[in-house]
Every structure is written in structure tokens, then in C-alpha cells.
């Protein structure tokens, strides 16, 4: 028998993501554990690199809004899907899983799963099994975007859970899902090993290697060194400055745009950014090419909220580098020099290289007439500032939290919808615009894709018009891998599919 092929991955995560269902460690968790061990009703199509990734059928083969009730979605489940423990997947299992996230009294209820799921169930009201392979989910308000949310809810095996008396920790040590890999072994904090699931329902995605080893390596230089010393085969986000060295060692470097936004959410109530002219001035003050250069080309200039390949990108107002214009706008707004304070972090998921980048932002803004104070804090402290909203932090004029934009809600609504004003949601700076609210409500209630696309485009263009953020760059998310690997396609997504990778013998 040929030697076992092993794919060893250096993850950016600081720890092994939770294996008990919905993972932790941010989108790294979904990327490496969630979508590998498990499936959701809805999955992401990660097979192409040329278009922005969108959702595709997962455990559900199709879904549609109940023609009689625009708050009731009906999901048709896939036939002949089996959990790793061999038991078949049915509508009852889906309902069981939803109760695991939502029903506090249920035996399988788990507070951590609740915490992770809650962000995607804000509009959720209930679920019922219609028949053996059909479930219906009702929402509080009409929600045309519900299927996107369903893509984050991982379905675990109720049988395995029952075997361990619904103890989530015991389950995590021996999990069972429906995903393309099965759990093999784990050294907490150090490594997670998964093996190929030869019986995976999607024959195209049965892994082309035998074993997947996931190693948490939060330090960029650690990952780089590990790849160079042959300790791992595939790493995420090498330091841009290390890329030439990696290339010279014949490593393959791939990159692609994905729905990521390195920007500042602004305070629309207190301070100078309440004035549109100041917001525009800031956006004109940045020479985004410098950032791209500093990041070794591994970023796209961030002129608008979304990446240009997004279907509803539209034709937003373009904030070219124009310091003179910026200064003029500040003059006009009567804010020169314009004192602003940004809360920034020293590290964090998706924050790229926060310190030098923020320093560069500061330098460029100051060249155009701003006076910038950076309040540096650790990642969790910044998240707290973000969560509490401008109300508790009136002296902060902007926060630098990089957000994901993978669907219209997360990409746009939550930043501009007044219903999402912090601390209820992610509208940190309390942007409030009735027109915008109307557009959002309209989009949520529109179930016709083409029509919805039009509204979404309108929203994006309006965001640019109103300069609701100070945009800087979109990450290109470089990945480096050993020359022995073949078959990887980098999708325009936070998530990636590792199953097609083949490994040449050494």
C-alpha cells in the first residue's frame, strides 16, 4: 500500500478551533474545522477563484420561501447522508441541532454553541420537521437572506451526542458530523488530525489526500519558518516581507481577493466625522497605493466597502488620493487641523498588520490636515469598544475592526441599519439615515434575486456616497505552499476547500 499522504497546515488561529459543532476562533474555525468535519444546510461554493464565492446546496438540496407565508422558509434535505458514526441524517436531526443552539431547557442545549449561533439567528423564530426530509424555519420578520445565515450552523450527530450524555466536551473529543473529513486525533492546543471520509456524499469533494493535520500558528514568522523548514506544507498569511524569501525557496504563493475590509467605522454622533465633508476628506487623504506597496502587493486598494468582484458592487463614488482636496474639505468643514482619535489593536483576526498600517494611516491623514491619536489596545479590548458602541466611547472617533463581508447583511446592512445600532449590533457609530433603513427593509423583504441585487447595489453606492467608513484596503490573503502540492484553488471567500489538494511524494 502506498504511503499515507499527509497535508500539514499552519493555521493563523491561536488554538485548535472547537470541534463540537459550530467552531470558535472566528472564520478560521469554520474554514478548517467547521466545513471539514461538518456540513450546514447551506454551503459555500469554493471551487472557483474567478468570481466571488456564493452559497450552494449543502445538507439541504434546495430551499424556497413558503408561497403563503413570507416568514417561513422550507428546506428540502439531502437523501442518503450519513454521519461519521454511520447513522443517517434526517429532518429530526436538524431540528435537534437547532434546539441545541436555541432552546435553553433542551438536554442538548449548549451555552457556547448558543453564543456562536446567536449571531446568525437574530431573526430566527422556530423550526419544524415537515416530513422525514423537509424542515421549515420561521423568522420574526421577512428575511430574504436567511439561507446565508444557515451556512454557518453546523449539524452534529445526535447519536454520538447521546452516547456521551450530551456532554459537549466529551463530544468534542470524539466528534461526529457529515463532513468530508473524519476526526482522527487531537493534542489540545497543538494539533488536530483529520482523515479522509471516503463515504462523503459529495463524490467530487472526497479528499485527495489521506490525512489533514492542522497546526495553530498565530505568528506569521512562525508559519513562515515552519513552511521553510519543511514542518508544514500549506500556510496562511505569510508575512508580506517573507514572500520573496518563500518564492526563492520555490514555494507556491497564491492570493485572491475575498470579502474582507480593512477600514475604520466612524462615529457619526460625536466629533468631526459627523460631518460628511470630514469623512470624505479622510477618504481622499489616503494614498492606498502606499499600503499595497507596504503589504508587498498582497492587498487591493479599498475605495469602497465591498471588493469590486462582488455582484452588487455597482459604481460607487471613488475616493482618489487627493490631499489638497482633503485639506480643502476640512477647511470648508471648519476642522483644520482636525483632531481625531482611533481605537486600534495590536493584533487580531483579519487585522493584517495593524500597527504599521495604522501608523501609515496616521501619517497620511496628518499630511492632509488631520491630527490623529491612536489608542492602542489588545484585540479583546478593541472588540469590547466595538461592541459597546460610540455611546460608551464618545471620545473615540473611529475604530479599526476589520469585518467580513461575505453576504449583504454582514457586508453592508449591519453597518448602516439603525436597527443594528450598537450595543444591539455592529452599527458602532450610530449611522442613521431613513432612506438607508428603507432600502435595507426593502431588500430583506425582496425574494426575487434580480430585484434584490438592484437594491443591494443601490445600498452599496449610497454607503460610498455617504462615506460611512474610512476605507483603506482589502486583503488579498496570500497563502504559501510547498512545491509538492497540486490542485488548490483559492476561492474568493473567507473559506477554502482543501479537499482537492494532492501531494507529490518527497
Amino acid at each position: 500500500r502506498a504511503q499515507e499522504t499527509v497535508l500539514r497546515v499552519g493555521m493563523t488561529a491561536g488554538d485548535i478551533p472547537l470541534t463540537a459543532g459550530i467552531p470558535d476562533q472566528g472564520f478560521e474555525g469554520w474554514r478548517f474545522v467547521g466545513y471539514n468535519l461538518y456540513d450546514a444546510l447551506v454551503l459555500w461554493d469554493l471551487s472557483r477563484g474567478d468570481v466571488a464565492a456564493d452559497i450552494k446546496p449543502g445538507l439541504a438540496t434546495s430551499w424556497a420561501i413558503d408561497p403563503n407565508n413570507n416568514r417561513r422558509w422550507i428546506f428540502q434535505l439531502r437523501r442518503d447522508v450519513r454521519f461519521h458514526d454511520g447513522s443517517p441524517m434526517t429532518a429530526a436531526d436538524i431540528v435537534w441541532n437547532f434546539e441545541r443552539f436555541t432552546r435553553e431547557g433542551a438536554p442538548q442545549f449548549n451555552p457556547r454553541q448558543f453564543a456562536f449561533a446567536r449571531a446568525y439567528l437574530g431573526n430566527y423564530e422556530g423550526i419544524e420537521a415537515v416530513d422525514e426530509l423537509t424542515v421549515a424555519i420561521t423568522t420574526k420578520q421577512p428575511d430574504s437572506l436567511l439561507p446565508y445565515n444557515m451556512s454557518f450552523l453546523m449539524m452534529v450527530s445526535p447519536r454520538r451526542s447521546a452516547e456521551v450524555n450530551n456532554d459537549a466536551d466529551a463530544f468534542a473529543r470524539n466528534p461526529s458530523g457529515t463532513g468530508p473529513y473524519r476526526f482522527a486525533r487531537m493534542v489540545p492546543g497543538e494539533r488536530l488530525e483529520l482523515v479522509r471520509n471516503p463515504d462523503y456524499w459529495d463524490r467530487d469533494r472526497v479528499p485527495k489526500h489521506d490525512r489533514l493535520v492542522l497546526l495553530p500558528m498565530p505568528e506569521a514568522s512562525t508559519r513562515t519558518a515552519a513552511l521553510l523548514s519543511g514542518q508544514v506544507d500549506w500556510i496562511e498569511a505569510p508575512a508580506p516581507d517573507a514572500i520573496p524569501r518563500l518564492r526563492s525557496a520555490r514555494m507556491q504563493i497564491v492570493s485572491n481577493s475575498y470579502p474582507h475590509n480593512w477600514a475604520y467605522q466612524l462615529n457619526f454622533v460625536d466629533g468631526p466625522f459627523a460631518d460628511l465633508r470630514v469623512r470624505r476628506a479622510a477618504n481622499h487623504a489616503l494614498n492606498r497605493a502606499d499600503f499595497v506597496e507596504m503589504l508587498g502587493g498582497m492587498a487591493l486598494p479599498g475605495f469602497a466597502n465591498l471588493t469590486p468582484s462582488t455582484p452588487y458592487y455597482g459604481n460607487p463614488r471613488r475616493y482618489e488620493y487627493d490631499p489638497a482636496r482633503a485639506r480643502a474639505l476640512l477647511q470648508e468643514a471648519g476642522c483644520l487641523p482636525c483632531r481625531v482619535t482611533f481605537a486600534i489593536s495590536t493584533s487580531g483576526s483579519g487585522q493584517m498588520q495593524p500597527l504599521p498600517m495604522n501608523e501609515l494611516v496616521k501619517a497620511q491623514l496628518e499630511a492632509a490636515g488631520f491630527q490623529v491619536t491612536l489608542q492602542t489596545m489588545d484585540w479583546n479590548a478593541l472588540l469590547q469598544v466595538g461592541r459597546e458602541g460610540r455611546g460608551r466611547h464618545p471620545t473615540v472617533n473611529g475604530i479599526n475592526i476589520s469585518r467580513s463581508l461575505q453576504d449583504p447583511f454582514n457586508g453592508m446592512f449591519r453597518f448602516v441599519w439603525s436597527a443594528q445600532a450598537a450595543p444591539a449590533g455592529s452599527n458602532w457609530g450610530h449611522y442613521r439615515n431613513p432612506e438607508m433603513d428603507a432600502l435595507v427593509n426593502q431588500a430583506l423583504a425582496t425574494f426575487d434575486p434580480a430585484e434584490r441585487l438592484r437594491i443591494l447595489t443601490q445600498i452599496h453606492e449610497k454607503m460610498s456616497e455617504d462615506a460611512v467608513m474610512l476605507w483603506v484596503v482589502h486583503d488579498l490573503n496570500p497563502r504559501a505552499m510547498s512545491p509538492r502540492l497540486r490542485g488548490f484553488t483559492q476561492a474568493q471567500s473567507w473559506f477554502q476547500d482543501l479537499t482537492p489538494i494532492t501531494i507529490a511524494p518527497r
Binding site: A220, S221, T224, A239, P240, D241, A242, P244, R245, D290, F291, E293, M294, T346, S347, Q353, L355, P356, E359, L360, K362, A363, L374, T376, M377, D378, A381
Partner: protein
Amino acid sequence: MSTAVSDTAAPDAAELALPTQRGYWGTVGYRLRYDHVTLFFGALLLLIILAAVAAPLLAPFDPYQESIIRRLKPPGYQDRYWLGTDELGRDMLSRLLHGGRITLTMGILPVIIATLIGGSLGVLAGFAGGVVNMSIMRVMDVFYAFPSVLLAVAISGAMGGGAVNGMIALTLVFIPPLCRVAETATTQVRNLDFVDAARATGAPMHLVVRHHVIGNVLGPILIYASSLVSVAIILASGLSFLGLGVKPPDPDWGLMLNALRQAIYVSPLVAAMPGIAILITSISMNLVSDGLRAAMDVRS
């Protein structure tokens, strides 16, 4: 009636011939003069400190002035950036000079404050003895139960980092050992006869301590404190390295070390510089402290 004592009648040759008219510090100085290693590193240290003090005058550029175009240039770039540029194109020499101020302050200030606090507590505990000694030293024991790195990281981690918090953490870390050294030295001195002799004059306690104890415990305390400076510098930059000390963009050496870690593939020489700066400073500090110790050790 006179106390006839032969010696006074004629200060004789034997007495006049007693050679060492140097005071204690004179002897120390004399010994140091022949200790070439200490002299060399003392001069080096002085140079480093002077360079740090005069950084604004010496630095050819603004240490915060960045430029992406000239980032990570090797030493000698454009004949003006003698030590090259960092990851944001800032002049390395200027940053190292300014960084010296921060790093040295982070290293020296906590030791000074800890010496004042820990030293006084130790002298108090050593001289008062009894219950006072017990209560002070037991509290110190608790802090002593933490390895210094752990304590520094724990405190500054808890207080959320930052230069000031880092210095507070380091101060807290150094108080217990200094207190112990002071206490031991004081207990030793207190048991010497001259302290008893001073007490026997009926002089008030504070005068006895001031004139007879402090002077004699100062030596050991200062020697110990000077040996802590290098530990403090390494610890402080370690904190910055972990992100718990100085915050960017201030050019602390430890922080620069961390930031330039990524650049090691592009410009290894530049990336190595902050580490070398720490190393040289710390070696100098250690050797000078050793030299002082040897020179101040009257027995040898």
C-alpha cells in the same frame, strides 16, 4: 596633671609612613583605574546613555517619519540612512537613538524606584527586626514566590500593557529582591559593634540609621541594583516584545525587535540591530556592575 602618652610627643616615622591616605572611594577608584574591561565597558555604557540623552540632537531624522518607498533599506542607503530603514521606512539610526531613551528609561527607572522603596523597606525591616521585619518580609515572600518574568508579565498583562504599566510592573518585580538584599545587609551591619557603639551613645534611632547603617548598606544595595538594570532592560524589552510594554509607534528596542521580525528575510542586518543594541547595553551594564562589585569588595 597630664596623660603622658609617648606617641603624641613626637608623631614618629612609623605613623607618618602609613601609606594609604586614600579614602574608601579612593581605593575603589584606584582599583577601577586598573580594570581595563570595566573601564572600556563603562565608557561604552556612558556613550550609550549619552547618545540616548542627546538623541534629539544626534538623530539625523525624525524617528517617526515614515516613507513606504524607502522601507527596509540596507545600511548606508542613499549615504544618509547609515543604519538603513525599518518596515515603515523610518531611519533606523534615529529610531535606535530615540529607542535608547525609552528602553533605558524602562530599564533604569523601575530599578531606581524599586531601590528607593525596596531599599527603605529592607533597611527598616532589618533595623527594626521583630514584628516589623516579620510583616514586611512575609509580604515580600509572597511576591518572591513568583519568578520575575512571570510576575512582570502577569502584572503588565493584567494592567493592560503600556510603558507606564510596564514600568510599574517591573518596579513591583524588583522591590522584593532589593528589599531582601537591603534587609540582609542591614541585619549584618546592625549586628556589628559600631552600630552598638552608636546606640550606646544614646543617640536617637534615626540618626544611628542615617549615619551608621545607610552608608554601609548602600554599597551592597547599589551593586545589586546595578546588576538588576540589565535584567530590567531585557525584561522591559521582553514585555514590549510580547505587546505588553511600550506601545507603537514609540521606538522601544524590544518593540522594534518584534516589528522587524517579519523583515528578517528582506533585511536581516536591519532586523538584527535592536537585538544587538539590547545585547551590547546589557553586556556593558553587567560587566560594569561586576567591575564595581570587585572594586568595592574591600576584602579582595
